[in-house]
Amino acid sequence: MRIGRHSYAIDYGHLALITFIAALVFWYLLDARSVSLSVNNLLLVQPVAIFALAMYLFIVPQCFHKVEAREAAKPSSENDPFAVSLSTDRADVMRMAALGVSLGLMVFLLDVIGFDIAIFLFAAAAMAICGERRPLHLLFFSLAVTLVTIYGFRALISYPMHTTLL
């Protein structure tokens, strides 16, 4: 993108994330205001939400980098002790994404196909994603995880768990 004499690179992912957050905050503020305009309701929520939206406006420009400047500014993970350095290697990202997707599938299928089957499938998938290829290992370890966790948690908690086979 070009504005004036400078050309800018837009970090679309970042822009999407903060816009999503800002939209969420804005919706929350509207939802709270629709319930009641009483101070008892908005005392903390309203100022914090407005503050968050102000921060959004402040951060938006950070999503646009001058092309030259971007090359000069190397990300410095050293400065931030709490930042987790996520690998950007393509294969690694694929693995993490795959694991994330399988976690999501398990979570949403727990009640549908039963905790036992969902856990077994997830354990096997996660092992495969982490590099296990031997079929017997996949089968038996996943089975072990399923049996131990299902029976273990059933003994611990009083909530009924929906299972298909166990």
Binding site: L99, G100, A123
Partner: protein, 522 residues
């Protein structure tokens, strides 16, 4: 102060019921194991064993339950240190330096530090409790919303020490966290942001959200590693190193003392529980430390500060429970139920009429803390072996356990779904260098901030001068500002000294350059 004849009687109870001592070790192990499962908090561990204790006699039941309590207080720090998953909110601050240490291959030492800080401060908390149980109880009841609001603000100050590359991103993350923490019905009965889902009426379940946010950044990224620690030589499990960590704790009496005081006071306040004490203790220790820059990168003082506040908080919470019959947190609510199930109602009359029993319970807790040392070393020795297992086995198992742990929190799929949604959010935030910890702090403290701020407002009728009528609140704010001011002052002095040093260094360099007339790289 202590009542000597009652104390002697208490010793009598202790020794005449030696049979109940047998429950200490099983209780500790149950507490350690349960609370090491991500999602199972101290409260839940106790709720699980409560029905069991019904079939014991009174003293045995209390010994068993308090042993679970003591063990669970430490157990949560094991997954926090080894895998960056806090078992419950009370071990959140332990992850900051504990996990950093274990990534450097110092997990043995980190666990040693945590264990010793936990036991020493646990004992300190109970000894103090023995001395001041009654006056403390009266003070605790006087703590009102303004004071609590001051405490919550103090907890938020932790954000200052979460230093991120971009301050603006840290602030946005914190604001988001606070707003997420206020979802649901507030203390005045207004319901916001629930999307019509009944499960959200009580707000977003903090434990699944916290595990999701933190797990996304860690667990998912483990997928590309073969072991939790990459360096092969660092994966060893060494009793010598654990003991070295234990012993090393004694080098930081100041940190232990500060952590204990913060922990006891905050633990004693009803309704706060232990989830905030560790944050404040960590932030205070970091701010006052000379080497504050190394916090978050594996400074043992960070681990000690967090653990000492958690452990001593137990004593404080127990004081409120025994003296007033009021639960300081979820765990003591369970203990009260256990008392009642044995036809004993804790509270002012209990402490007057049954002082020896109260002392016996406190003494037994001190014994438990000592026993925890031995049991704890064994436990961390076994638990650390997880470092030697390949991630392809650890990761699926941990993710399944965490999912079921969050299921145990809510009793339905809402827990695991919260975990997943927040895992996605955590991943995105990490990707763009937003401090996930700031969101967690916001979620943990948002509700308390709103509740106490609102009550202060209601109580004062909107008059800010009301704070002048609350000396306690003024004292807390004063301590906070003085501590901030002193740190700023100290930092300035430090910066000046560093600037002077840098200047001197440059002069030396220039002199040498002038002497050699070689171009320097600057």
């Amino acid at each position: 102060m202590i009542d000597v004849s009652a104390f002697n009687e208490a010793l009598g109870i202790m020794f005449s019921s030696v049979g109940s001592w047998g429950w200490i070790v099983p209780g500790l192990i149950v507490g350690l194991v349960f609370s090491a499962i991500p999602g199972i908090s101290i409260t839940m561990a106790m709720a699980i064993v409560l029905p069991m204790s019904l079939y014991m006699d009174f003293f045995s039941a209390i010994v068993f339950l308090t042993s679970v309590y003591t063990g669970a207080g430490f157990g949560g720090s094991v997954p926090a240190i080894l895998m960056n998953i806090p078992g419950s909110p009370s071990s959140f601050a332990t992850t900051f330096d504990g996990y950093a240490m274990s990534q450097k291959g110092e997990h043995n030492e980190a666990l040693g530090y945590a264990l010793f800080a936990s036991t020493l401060c646990g004992i300190a908390g109970y000894v103090l409790l023995l001395l001041v149980i009654e006056p403390l109880a009266d003070i605790v009841l006087r703590i009102g919303p303004v004071e609590m609001f001051a405490v919550a603000i103090w907890g938020m100050m932790l954000l200052g020490s979460l230093g991120s590359t971009y301050i603006s991103r840290g602030l946005l993350a914190a604001a988001l966290g606070i707003l997420l923490g206020t979802v649901g019905m507030n203390t005045a009965g207004f319901t916001r942001g629930t999307l019509g889902l009944p499960v959200l009426l009580d707000g977003i379940a903090p434990i699944p959200a916290m595990i999701g946010l933190l797990a996304a950044s860690q667990l998912l990224s483990l997928a590309s590693r073969d072991y939790i620690i990459e360096a092969e030589g660092s994966r060893e499990v060494s009793l010598r190193k654990i003991l070295k960590g234990c012993w090393g704790t004694l080098k930081y009496p100041g940190v232990l003392l500060r952590g204990s005081i913060i922990g006891i006071i905050i633990g004693a306040v009803p309704g706060v529980g232990s989830s905030i004490g560790n944050l404040i203790a960590y932030a205070e220790t970091k701010r006052t430390a000379k080497d504050s820059a190394t916090f978050g990168k594996g400074n043992p003082k960070g681990v000690i500060a967090a653990e000492s506040a958690v452990a001593s908080g137990e004593g404080g919470s127990m004081a409120t429970m025994l003296a007033l019959g009021i639960p300081g947190g979820g765990a003591t609510a369970i203990l009260i139920a256990a008392f009642m199930m044995h036809n004993i109602v804790p509270g002012p009359s209990f402490i007057e009429t049954q002082k020896p029993m109260v002392y016996a319970i406190i003494l037994n807790n001190i014994v438990q803390a000592i026993v925890l040392l031995a049991v704890g070393i064994g436990f961390i020795y076994v638990a650390s072996n997880i470092m030697k297992v390949r991630t392809r086995y650890v990761l699926p198992a941990i993710l399944v356990i965490a999912t079921l742990g969050t299921f145990a929190v809510t009793g339905e799929a809402a827990g695991p779904i919260t975990l997943f949604v927040f895992a996605l959010l955590g991943y995105a935030l990490n990707r763009y260098q937003y401090p996930v910890s700031a969101v967690v702090v916001g979620i943990l403290l948002g509700r308390m901030l709103e509740t106490e701020f609102l009550r202060s407002y209601q109580l004062s009728g909107g008059n800010p001068l009301y704070v002048l009528e609350r000396p306690g609140a003024m004292a807390i704010f004063a301590v906070m500002f003085i501590s901030l001011g002193m740190t700023a002052w100290g930092k300035r002095k430090q910066n000046r000294a560093e600037a002077a040093e840098a200047l001197a260094l440059r002069q030396i360099q220039e002199e040498t350059r002038a002497a050699h007339t070689t171009p320097s790289k600057g």
